[in-house]
């Protein structure tokens, strides 16, 4: 089959463009270390009192863990616990792993203005690890419709500098 050289040229350009798109995603994954929410653990949403979600909040990670702090957040109609009544407080320059679940209906957990965003599905634990470089207070919001007061379901995530972080506030 005869193909005109202009057509051959832009077929070639499109193949190069596809290669560039794939390369950027690979660079994002390797150099920038960007990940997505992976496989989730499952829990019984009716029996969360037997899990760490019964006493949610920021905990020091167990020795030998690859992260420094673990944050357990219960998302329920229509609040984040912690987050809404009192802010989630975490330090800068530490690896922080969030575990989020819901005892009632589907919620969302979005740290506003960042790439930290996950669905919160009853029966599943959404888990992700991140690190904050600068102290800042972020808003939290539920971005999945969860009922009549969904629009007021919000909270705060306070990132304080490592030196100001008070470990006495941690959940033991």
């Amino acid at each position: 089959m005869h193909i005109h050289r202009f057509e051959r040229f832009w077929i070639g350009v499109s193949l190069v463009a596809i290669a560039i798109f794939i390369a950027t995603v690979v660079i994002g994954f390797s150099v920038y270390d960007l990940r997505v929410i992976g496989a989730e653990k499952t829990v019984d949403p009716q029996n969360l009192q037997e899990t760490k979600f019964a006493d949610p909040g920021v905990r020091k990670a167990e020795p030998g863990s690859e992260v420094d702090y673990e944050v357990y957040v219960m998302s329920r109609q229509f609040m984040f616990n912690p987050g809404t009544a009192e802010p989630i407080t975490v330090p800068t320059d530490a690896k922080i792993r969030f575990h989020i679940t819901s005892p009632d209906v589907l919620h969302g957990f979005e740290v506003v203005g960042t790439n930290l965003n996950t669905m919160v599905i009853p029966g599943q634990v959404a888990t992700f690890t991140t690190r904050f470089d600068t102290p800042k207070t972020y808003g939290l919001l539920c971005n999945e419709y969860c009922g009549a007061a969904h629009h007021v379901m919000e909270g705060r995530l306070k990132v304080v500098s490592k030196s100001q972080f008070n470990e006495k506030q941690l959940v033991q």
Partner: protein
Amino acid sequence: MDSNDKKAENESNSETSPSDEKIRELSLEEFNPHGTLALTLLYFVLLLVLWFFMYFVEFAGHGPSILS
């Protein structure tokens, strides 16, 4: 020359209409749509620039991000 004159002339000159007349014959290789080529290249440039903007500025630059 207005359109009526043109029409009259065509009718008098030949049976065929002007669109049927071959002015020049081109093989496929001699047909070079440079305008289309320029537009296609412009489109690819735009596509790549916007992709880099979306991926590296709007997504990767929107940290903190999920690390694992």
